[in-house]
């Protein structure tokens, strides 16, 4: 007998419908899976067999062929365990043969028949809905995630529960309430940062305008601490953005089960030893990298000059286009990667520059080499570049600082104001012209200053961009120390 179950494979970020056909016939006992299944998928044989026996069902001791169609699509991972098991149980007549219609399934089986959640359940659920399934059988933990896609989940803890459901014994277990509330961890608060008023100000501007930000200064002054507080002052994600981010995190397997939709902009801080593939994504069946995980959030490159040159250069495309196109022999795919980049660095290799007490002992050649690690093209992508000298101890002993919620309120107001695109005042235009004449400021640099001054004007609630806004924006241009 032949039975069919439906599931979905991931190609990049997209679900592709896969039919699982099980054929049980008389013949010498044999169990084969065909249809370009990878190692983890081939090993489903052992898990499915053990799982079916643990669920006190009969293992059809005949010739069993499982076909995963379309046959030319590579199938990866353990998510096919459940659909294979269901198709087999149906093909051996242990559940009514037509009952799988309208259902899709995804999940990994444990040897004792329990179900384990798999990454990408949300995407599989979206695919199921689009392809006309009404219900998706999945692991209990994946229930809330599946519900986000707008399809009814049949969350089961054990294979026997799924079988009971298909036999019509007992209602489908009540799906956990589809939670669209954000239960992801709260980002750290700006109130923890003492002193550093200039840095706080520039963080606010970065949040309001979505500008990329580079913080340069001696070690230990709180550059990383500040950068980690950026997501907390960004507006929360709207529905479509939240779904998009949740989908990406689901595929990458970094989604907290039961966390619901991700509403807080994501924050990713890869270590500087990360490879280009880890940052922008890669692999023969491409998987998203850190840049895509930071989509609609913040990507922090701590100690930026320590990153490999090819890694930094690989980021230029997503910074420009907001997407990463990965071409492989097997095909190409596109990952979204619209993130806000925050970099931190020292002002020189020894770290003493900007520190009145330590002083710098670097040779001019060592300084040049350090600067050369960041290409001009990459430096140009930062609208805001701030040199932060080490504060005196007394500056840190002030009153508690303003917390993130208050700052975020201002950011939200400014974001709506920026949309109205305020005009440059003649005084602002004049100052900008004078700066281009006097300072080493390129055409691109001028455009950056104009962008930042618009944000500053919006934060100030001004109708037009005044000279004082341009002047402040000019103070965030690349300092000479980083230029060439």
């Amino acid at each position: 007998m032949i039975a069919r179950a439906v599931t979905h494979a991931l190609v990049g970020l997209e679900p592709r419908r896969v039919e699982v056909e099980a054929h049980v016939e008389l013949g010498a006992p044999k169990f084969a899976i065909v249809g370009l299944a990878d190692r983890a998928c081939q090993e489903a044989k052992e898990r499915v067999r053990s799982g079916i026996e643990s669920a006190e069902l009969d293992w059809p001791g005949n010739r069993i062929i499982v076909n995963l169609a379309p046959a030319d699509l590579r199938k990866e991972g353990p998510g096919f365990d459940l659909p294979i098991a269901l198709a087999l149980i149906a093909a051996s007549g242990q559940i009514p043969i037509g009952c799988l219609a309208g259902h899709s399934a995804v999940g990994e089986l444990a040897l004792d028949g329990r179900l384990r959640p798999v990454p990408g359940s949300l995407v599989a659920a979206e695919g199921a809905r689009r392809n006309g399934s009404h219900r998706l059988v999945c692991a209990a933990e994946s229930g809330p995630e599946v519900a986000l896609a707008g399809i009814e989940p049949i969350p089961v803890r054990h294979l026997s529960e799924a079988v009971a459901y298909f036999r019509g014994h007992g209602d489908p277990p009540a799906p956990a309430a589809a939670s669209s509330a954000d239960r992801s961890p709260v980002p750290p608060d700006l109130a923890d940062v003492r002193g550093q008023e200039r840095a706080r100000r520039v963080l606010e501007i970065a949040a309001a305008g979505g500008h990329n930000l580079l913080l340069a200064g001696p070690p230990g002054i709180g550059k990383t601490m500040l950068a980690r507080r950026l997501p907390g002052i960004l507006p929360t994600l709207d529905d479509s953005a939240a779904l998009e981010v949740t989908r990406i995190h689901s595929i990458a397997g970094v989604l907290d089960p039961g966390a619901g939709l991700i509403r807080t902009p994501p924050f990713r801080a890869p270590h500087h030893t990360a490879s280009a593939a880890a940052i922008v994504g890669g692999g023969s069946n491409p998987r998203p990298g850190e840049a895509t995980l930071a989509h609609r959030g913040v990507l922090l490159l701590d100690e930026m000059p320590e990153f490999a040159r090819n890694v930094l250069e690989a980021l230029r495309q997503p910074l420009e286009d907001g997407v990463i196109a990965i071409a492989r022999v097997g095909g190409r795919c596109t990952f979204p990667a619209k993130f806000q980049l925050v970099g931190t660095m020292n002002l020189c290799p020894c770290g003493g520059r900007g520190d009145a007490a330590a002083g710098c002992s670097c040779s001019p050649q060592a300084l040049d080499r350090y600067r050369d690690r960041l290409s001009r093209a990459l430096l140009d992508r930062f609208d805001l570049v701030v040199a932060l000298p080490r504060p005196r101890a007394a500056e840190l002993a002030g009153a508690p600082s303003e917390g993130s919620p208050a700052v975020r309120d201002r950011v939200l107001i400014a974001r709506t104001a920026i949309v109205m695109r305020s005009k440059m005042s003649p005084e602002g235009e004049e100052l900008l012209g004078r700066a281009v004449e006097r300072l080493p400021l390129s055409g691109r640099g001028r455009a950056k200053v104009a962008r930042v001054s618009r944000t500053i004007a919006a934060l100030a609630g001004a109708q037009s961009i005044a000279a004082e806004h341009v002047a402040e924006a000019l103070s965030y241009r690349s300092p000479a120390e980083l230029g060439r």
Binding site: E197, R198, P364, L431, I456, H469, E472, S475, P479
Partner: protein
């Protein structure tokens, strides 16, 4: 035998023959086959010119030193009259501090504003900042190279060299193609000192090329000045040692102008309007605040306002920023 042939031979490989006879013979052969007109044409095609020592255009001050070069190769837009104008050499350490860079730059700026030509060696550090300061004030500056006239050394200063050439001059005693070598730089320094009426040492270690320039200037009876530095810093030892030996201390550009007999420009440039944010910020810096946060605290402005006011002051050349630290 022409001076050009001498300069060309001096820079050629044949100069380094070990035995005397052979060198003399090689020189005779070199001169015999040397075609002045063709060589000058080739130089002109490359955009370079040549002044022999015996020519009237040869800088008189350089001619007066005890071993002037046979002639100099030139590159740049400035007319030869630039050598007649009052000139000051500003030299110092390559690995300079932010303070040294600031002093070299602002000193050169003010000297240029008073109509003085700033001469230096295009090296990293103080030399580079001296050239830049002069250019910023719209002045003309002369860079003396320790390599062939066609080279920009160090390469990091290629853009600066181009800018110098647009208004000022690059000078070398070596023809195109000569590579920089350690022993060429002290020789270059005698031209730096020779072209200038006075030499200012901004920052120098105990054994520094800048001190060679100062020694050469002293030997020629030119004025030597030094900028006092911190007594605890190795970078200041050379300059402070010069002061102990009797060099004139430099506390402002007027000190230098006085040493070469030029009346400093009396009209003090207009300060920022009293009560404006810029004036308040300037007062804050004078009171010892040096970062935006410190200035904001001292003046009661927001960090944004303080940063804006600082940019205005920076554009007017009243403050300078390095690594986030502001100085007057």
């Amino acid at each position: 035998m022409s001076e050009l042939a001498l300069a060309m031979f001096a820079a050629s490989r044949d100069m380094h023959a070990t035995d005397r006879e052979s060198r003399t013979a090689r020189f005779a052969a070199f001169v015999a086959s040397f075609d002045d007109a063709a060589e000058l044409r080739r130089l002109a095609e490359g955009g370079y010119s040549w002044i022999g020592r015996s020519e009237a255009a040869f800088p008189a001050r350089l001619k007066a030193i005890h071993d002037p070069p046979p002639g100099i190769f030139l590159r740049g837009a400035a007319p030869d009259e630039i050598f007649v104008r009052p000139a000051v050499a500003v030299v110092g350490a390559r690995a300079c501090s932010d303070y040294g860079a600031h002093v070299a730059r602002s000193l050169s700026r003010e000297l240029a504003a008073a109509g003085v030509v700033v001469i230096s060696g295009l090296a990293r550090g103080i030399d580079g900042w001296a050239h830049r300061g002069c250019l910023e004030a719209g002045g003309e500056t002369v860079a003396v190279l320790g390599c062939g006239i066609d080279r920009d050394y160090p390469r990091a200063h290629a853009a600066l060299a181009r800018e110098i050439g647009e208004r000022g001059l690059l000078v070398a005693e070596y023809p195109p193609g000569v590579a920089p070598a350690p022993w060429r730089f002290p020789a270059r320094n005698r031209i730096v000192a020779g072209l200038a009426l006075a030499t200012v040492v901004v920052e120098a270690r105990e054994r520094s090329g800048a001190l060679i320039t100062a020694d050469l200037a002293l030997e020629e009876g030119r004025e030597v000045l030094a900028v006092p530095g911190e007594i605890t810093s190795a970078l200041s030892q050379g300059a402070n040692a010069l002061l102990r030996l009797g060099a004139t201390p430099v506390t402002c550009a007027a000190d230098v102008l006085e040493a070469i007999g030029i009346e400093p420009p009396t009209s003090e440039p207009q300060g920022p309007a009293a009560g404006s944010a810029a004036a308040i910020v300037l007062a804050g810096i004078e009171a010892g605040a040096s970062t935006v946060d410190q200035i904001a605290r001292a003046t009661g402005l927001t960090p944004g306002e303080a940063a804006g006011a600082l940019v205005e002051l920076e554009l007017d050349g009243r403050v300078e920023v390095r690594a986030g630290i502001y100085r007057r």
